[in-house]
Symmetry: C2
Subunit: 248 residues, 2 copies
């Protein structure tokens, strides 16, 4: 089959789905994307994402690629066809043809994740499933200070969960940590060369617990020196996490 | 029963509910509120809203009142008890005790409604159910100009649906019309002394159709002079409408 490779930018509200990666129940973004392609192309098409996102985790711009039978369709036609077959909580926002050397996962140079915390006594109904509700008052200055602890290159073994198989290389580099406060929303953004499984949620969990005085500040720094000791850890809930973009 | 009157401010994401007003199926905000009170007080309590909102319509601050057995609870306790029993898409955001002369509906001096239009080729997944998706480009200047047509006191018979019974008085005053554009979102806000059934959605439907060139500008003005002729009308979808606040 003569094929062309499509690079897709995909946005989704993770609340209704079982995450990115294909599963038996089929309620995943990858399954929905592959279903849409099968409907359009009449043949099974594999969609490769830049990486997994867990159930409940959102994406503003997940990136994926797929090899499709050559049609030379204009971008707008692919967008309309895919979105026409996808549920409204999953949208393809951009589509371009790329060289066969492009790979959504292996060509990625880094990623940006954002974590949203709603810091007020009551979580507005419109934020349900879209932010972590922390009712106890947080100091944004403290949050920003603690988030900066992760800047640079560290062994993040203490900030990784494993999926059954042992993780070999747990050294990662955080290029930027940005904290923004808008009304009751505190957003923490990490730009890194790569992220381990549940890494952002473990980092945010530690940052918030430290800001709440539930963990000493020194412990946060100490953890970046530990390797695989797996101290008691707190995973911030999935609903606050957004994959903002993948850098290539 | 010695009772006190509570004034409640309620916010809800209308997407999951059948509107405000009590119904046999029970999936309405009023039913949920009355269910929460029954659970807390152990006796049926009637909750009176400032007015109905239709299925799919949202509220940032609906107002209601209820007479409850005297407990002299602090506000925070009522908030916690009610929110503890309500689903997360309905939140009581404020609760105060008021005089028995206060009535959520009859004491209202006016209301503010906002209508959100998402004007871009693709509707983001996070806006699904929360805005009207209009893909064709709109001029914000035109939208603002047409929205201003409604300013002042008019007979809004042409911008009202009836619920079976004839509407006697269809004269209303729009005190302010405000249009704000944030990225792809165009928000139209109307502040009025009162609104007829489906009035805002009929006004927005006419504004958008006029801005798209589907109706002549002169027709919009002419309609405010007609009385009950019921020309062809377009009702903007429920999901873009928000009750912003009730003025007392």
């Amino acid at each position: 089959m003569i094929s062309e490779r499509l690079k897709l930018t995909i946005s989704y509200d993770g609340a209704s789905f079982s995450g990115w990666q294909s599963q038996a129940n089929g309620n995943t973004i990858q399954d929905l994307m592959e279903g849409a392609f099968r409907q359009i192309c009449g043949t099974p098409i594999r969609v490769h994402g830049s990486g997994r996102t867990d159930a409940g985790v959102h994406a503003l711009a997940q990136t994926a690629h797929a090899d499709v039978p050559l049609r030379a369709w204009p971008t707008q036609r692919w967008l309309a066809a895919l979105n026409g077959s996808l549920p409204p909580k999953v949208r393809v926002t951009r589509c371009t043809t790329v060289k066969k050397t492009f790979h959504a996962r292996f060509s990625a140079k880094g990623k940006v994740y954002r974590y949203r915390i709603w810091n007020a006594p009551v979580l507005p109904p419109f934020e349900h499933g879209r932010a972590w509700h922390v009712a106890a008052p947080l100091s944004v200055t403290d949050i920003a200070g603690h988030a900066n602890t992760f800047l640079g290159t560290h062994d993040f073994a203490e900030f990784a969960a494993n999926r059954g198989q042992p993780i070999v290389d747990t050294v990662r580099t955080i290029r930027a940590a940005k904290v923004r406060c808008t009304g009751s929303c505190i957003a923490i953004e990490f730009d890194g060369d790569g992220f381990l499984y549940k890494m952002v949620r473990l980092m945010v969990g530690a940052v918030v617990r430290t800001a709440l005085g539930k963990e000493p500040v020194a412990q946060l720094r100490a953890r970046l020196k530990l390797q695989g000791t797996k101290s008691a850890r707190f995973v911030a809930p999935a609903e606050g996490l957004y994959l903002v973009r993948v850098r290539y």
